[in-house]
């Protein structure tokens, strides 16, 4: 079996400052990888470098493409990378409005990726959009409403539907539950866990919320100051942290 994504020594610098340094890991099909760390530890820089939104200064990001097998996404041509971005990849932003078209109806938002890959039948697109709204628990009669009329939790779920409609194989998530209240968070996590398992998705989730990774992630990387300080199975890392920073992180979680 080959890994879906193979990251080799990825580094990104902002001038003389380190964004992230020498990160390597393999992500296997169906696996969910969590990346945790404090603000400014390079989590988002790493995620953007992997998803092609930033160009890393060093290293390779090999993705198992459907056509040509393992291919370095850093050096592939821009049309190819953008094509991946709307077919095999999905990117869920922390703020839903960054990932949605706020002046386009919910149905149009979900349908955009379908139309981008060539769907030209209104009835089919609409059916698919309705189906996906149902799967993310948005009622069908909201299909013609704009996301600006949606609550934060609904927007986030709409963003997820919009991303998953083309059946991607790899999902990048940047703090998918950030800024939502805990009950909405719980529902969203439940939904995400269901979708990930049901579709056999691989995902990379960046978050500072340990509860999120405990629920969703199979494996965990802990970052500090641009470096990966600890990596392993989620339960192992959280229950028996070895590195000083991880110990601090785990013990900082407030108990109710």
């Amino acid at each position: 079996m080959t890994p879906l994504l193979s990251v080799r020594n990825v580094s990104k610098f902002y001038g003389s400052r380190i964004g992230c340094s020498d990160v390597s890991f393999d992500l296997w099909p169906g696996e969910v990888m969590g990346i945790v760390g404090e603000s400014g530890s390079g989590k988002t820089t790493l995620l953007n470098s992997l998803a092609g939104q930033l160009t890393p200064d060093r290293g390779e990001v090999l993705f198992d493409t459907r056509a040509d097998g393992m291919k370095d996404t850093v050096t592939m041509s821009e049309p190819e990378r953008r094509m991946l971005g709307r077919t095999d990849w999905a990117f869920v932003h922390q703020h839903a409005h960054e990932g949605l078209r706020m002046n386009v109806s919910a149905g149009g938002n979900v349908g955009e990726r379908l139309m981008a890959v060539g769907a030209r039948n209104y009835g089919t697109i609409r059916e698919e959009a309705l189906d996906w709204l149902g799967r993310v628990e948005i009622s069908g009669d909201r299909i013609d409403d704009r996301p600006s009329a949606f609550s934060g939790g609904m927007r986030q779920r709409l963003q997820i539907a919009r991303n998953l409609v083309t059946g991607p194989r790899l999902v990048f998530m940047d703090e998918p539950t950030g800024g939502l209240d805990v009950s909405v968070q719980a529902r969203l996590l439940d939904l995400l866990r269901g979708l990930v398992r049901e579709m056999g998705l691989s995902a990379i989730i960046v978050t500072h919320d340990l509860a999120v990774v405990r629920l969703l992630a199979d494996r965990l990387m802990v970052m500090k100051d641009g470096h990966v300080v600890e990596a392993g199975l989620t339960d192992q890392v959280l229950d028996d942290p070895q590195h000083g920073y991880t110990q601090l992180l785990v013990s900082s979680v407030l108990q109710v």
Binding site: E78, P79, R82, R86, R101, N103, V104, S105, G107, G108, G111, E112, R113, M115, A116, V117, R120, N121, Y122, G123, I125, R126, I143, D144
Partner: protein, 286 residues
């Protein structure tokens, strides 16, 4: 002899514009940037079209200007006078006699023949603009042929109105490559864009020129289950009886009375001169 250089613009500027036009003709539907000049009229009055006309006109040309199909509205009259004064070219209201036709929002009903040039005034040349505000991004989308977004606009139309409600500036695909804004012509005119004449588009404020060589394939975008429909009012013209022309609806009293007349004044007048009569023409009313 007037004190103006021929057709107002200096020769270097006309040369620059001609270069943009030739590039546009070589890459049909591609928006070529050009250094648009200040013209002695406000933006929105056809500064782009005027510059393209100025670069295209020769002293032997016969010039016609139409505004919403009419030869006698303010915009048409002032632009016609402008070139009469600065280029001393012959002017006409007859589509068949003109060699260069500057138009705002219509294509003449009478088919153009080879050798005629149709110059459009374009307010916003970028068809993707209202969905994607970033110029960097729209240029990239054109370069990579990422046109899914254009269908999102049509999707929104159908979901809101039950049919594609875009009635003018209806997006087209040129030679299966570039998606192009045909300027705010009614979608009724879209099929006419596959014509024998040369079509040039000038956007003054947005500083873009694009073009269609003769017989270029122009396809209006649509969905399989909502095909393109070049609709018009379901009436014959009340003046000349034409059933195949694009009509303006005119309110004629305060009791709900209305009439439909050809928006192309030259077409209507030619037909009336040939003896065609409609419901409300003078003889019929007697």
């Amino acid at each position: 002899m007037s004190d103006y250089n021929f057709a107002y613009l200096d020769e270097q500027t006309k040369r620059m514009i001609r270069r943009a036009i030739l590039k546009g003709l070589a890459v049909p539907g591609y928006q070529v940037p050009f250094a648009s000049r200040e013209m002695p009229m406000p933006y929105g009055w056809g500064t782009g079209g005027v510059q393209v006309s100025a670069a295209t006109l020769t002293p032997e040309d016969t010039f016609k200007v139409i505004d919403q199909g009419a030869d006698d509205t303010t915009n048409a009259v002032s632009i016609r006078k402008f070139f009469e004064k600065t280029a001393q070219v012959a002017v006409t209201e007859k589509t068949s006699e003109a060699t260069v036709i500057q138009t705002r929002h219509r294509i003449p009903e009478e088919p153009l023949r080879e050798g005629q040039i149709l110059v459009y005034q374009v307010p916003i040349p970028e068809p993707l603009r209202f969905l994607e505000p970033s110029e960097v991004e729209t240029r990239k989308m054109h370069a990579l042929e990422e046109y899914g977004l254009m269908h999102v606009k049509l999707y929104e139309d159908i979901s809101r109105h039950g049919h594609i409600a875009t009635a003018y500036a209806y997006p087209v695909k040129v030679e299966a490559r570039y998606v192009m804004d045909p300027s705010p012509i009614p979608k009724f005119d879209n099929p006419k864009m596959e014509m024998a004449g040369i079509q040039l588009f000038g956007a003054g404020r947005e500083q873009r020129i694009y073009a269609l060589p003769p017989y270029t394939q122009v396809v209006s975008l649509d969905f399989e289950d909502h095909p393109f429909d070049p609709s018009k009012a379901e009436h014959p013209c009340d003046m000349c009886g034409a059933e195949d022309s694009y009509l303006d609806e005119v309110i004629i009293d305060d009791a709900g009375g209305r009439m439909f007349v050809c928006s192309d004044t030259d077409y209507c007048a030619t037909r009336q001169a040939a003896g065609h009569r409609g419901r409300l023409s003078a003889e019929a009313a007697e």
